[in-house]
Symmetry: C2
């Protein structure tokens, strides 16, 4: 999917919502795991997707939740991506994997995530530098979403370290990495809990899309994110996971998830 | 496995060799993929393990190579770990995954890698800080191997950045993270291609084990690594992957792999 298509989807739906499919077998509604279903995680995802697709422009399964189920989890994940591709071709599908390894090994991850699983985009960690990221950038039409400034407390440990010129690590990651690819291939993760730093981020990467986790359960503020993070292409994908997908655990879970997604979309509509 | 056990295994075998099971379906001997085998990757790993176990004290499958095969790859990986557990209980089994995510998500990765796959140790990326690493440290008897200074060219991009006090990022990672756990739970990845920096690493973490990739195909030098990296517990696991496992692609591949592993072990014996 191109940047322009993403922008158009966002305008048409008046939404920049990405829904995180952090689907944990221990947290999904009990009736899905107790009735006869050979794949309760996929059944959950399908119901959530069908209920919420009107209100979002992207879905983001986090691979940890699927790997926890081993080979079965990979099958649930593959079925979920295929289901999205076949039924909601306008949805942008992000594999939240936070991978990164030496070049030839990153190449294997890229193949797994872009070919086997057919994600549109993959989150990648910058710690190992350019040659660990480049193999993910060699797939036409696919995207790398590089971790820059994350939404967790631990972001303070290293990402904000200032070098001797006063440049912080996340700033250096943005500045260096934007030379590796265009803004048609590269986005950045910037946590909503760091919204006071969004202006700084926008000075370095004015035209890139940003994937912003941390709205909802992690405490980020949508208004601040939109005010400081939007650009002339929209330029934002704001993720919400638990607040939507675990809003209810009864037989009405999908309906309640739809209501939650709708509420967020309505709040976003003012900015689109 | 405890640090003392690892040390004793190293003394007994006069080896600190770790063999990387980067088992790529496209690179393993063709006869394994053309004869009737329902799991050529596992067949390859089993043959390599049986041939080389006398000469090494650890095995390190890199998850990228298994994920590339999707759910089937996860099954091959699980069978490989189980085979090692059942037949070579003195081998230390490292899942080279380079994971790291926000706390609850890292917890899911930890469960996948320590419970479902039963690794002894997992490589973790430090970029997201303490709360992304901590969940991996809550498993008694299991280890985190944190990326500090990697063996690839991209290590220069961020890991060597000096802060305003002259501390480089990898030094900060070592200094801060050693407060998160003891040297009975935490090791570090330090690339052999950075052997001139091993003395610096040893000043900060004198007692920790180091996992050193980059010997062989990546150009590292064993003598330098041993000279600057060893401590009173041995303190080294030196990894070699391609040089051993792909030494030969004929029907004699396992025999040739054994010879290669033996050569490295003999070079290591002088230091044990």
């Amino acid at each position: 999917m191109t940047k322009q298509q993403l922008y158009e989807n966002s305008k048409r739906k008046r939404s920049f919502l990405c829904i995180g499919l952090d689907s944990d077998l221990k947290k999904i509604p009990p009736h899905l795991t107790t009735v006869a279903s050979d794949d309760p995680v996929f059944a959950f995802n399908r119901a959530i997707i069908d209920a919420t697709a009107d209100y979002c422009i992207a879905y983001k399964p986090n691979l940890a939740f699927y790997e926890d189920l081993g080979a079965d989890g990979w099958l649930s994940l593959k079925k979920t991506v295929t289901y999205l591709r076949n039924n909601y071709p306008d949805q942008f599908i992000i594999g939240d994997a936070k991978r990164g390894d030496i070049g030839n090994t990153s190449g294997m991850y890229a193949r797994a995530l872009f070919e086997y699983l057919d994600f549109d985009a993959v989150t990648v960690s910058p710690y190992m530098g350019e040659d660990s990221v480049k193999p993910f950038l060699s797939y036409p039409g696919k995207w790398v979403i590089l971790l820059a400034l994350t939404s967790n407390q631990g972001a303070l440990d290293f990402q904000l370290t200032e070098d001797k010129n006063g440049e912080r690590l996340f700033e250096k990651v943005l500045r260096k990495s934007k030379e590796w690819a265009t803004d048609e291939q590269l986005m950045y993760v910037v946590g909503a809990t760091q919204s006071q730093l969004l202006q700084t981020v926008r000075q370095i990467v004015p035209d890139h899309f940003l994937l912003v986790p941390g709205i909802g359960a992690q405490g980020g503020d949508l208004n601040q994110v939109a005010t400081y993070g939007m650009n002339r292409f929209g330029g934002l994908l704001v993720n919400s996971s638990r607040q939507i997908i675990y809003a209810d655990s009864s037989i009405k879970f999908a309906e309640v998830a739809r209501e939650e997604a709708c509420k967020i979309q309505q709040a976003m509509a003012d900015y689109c």
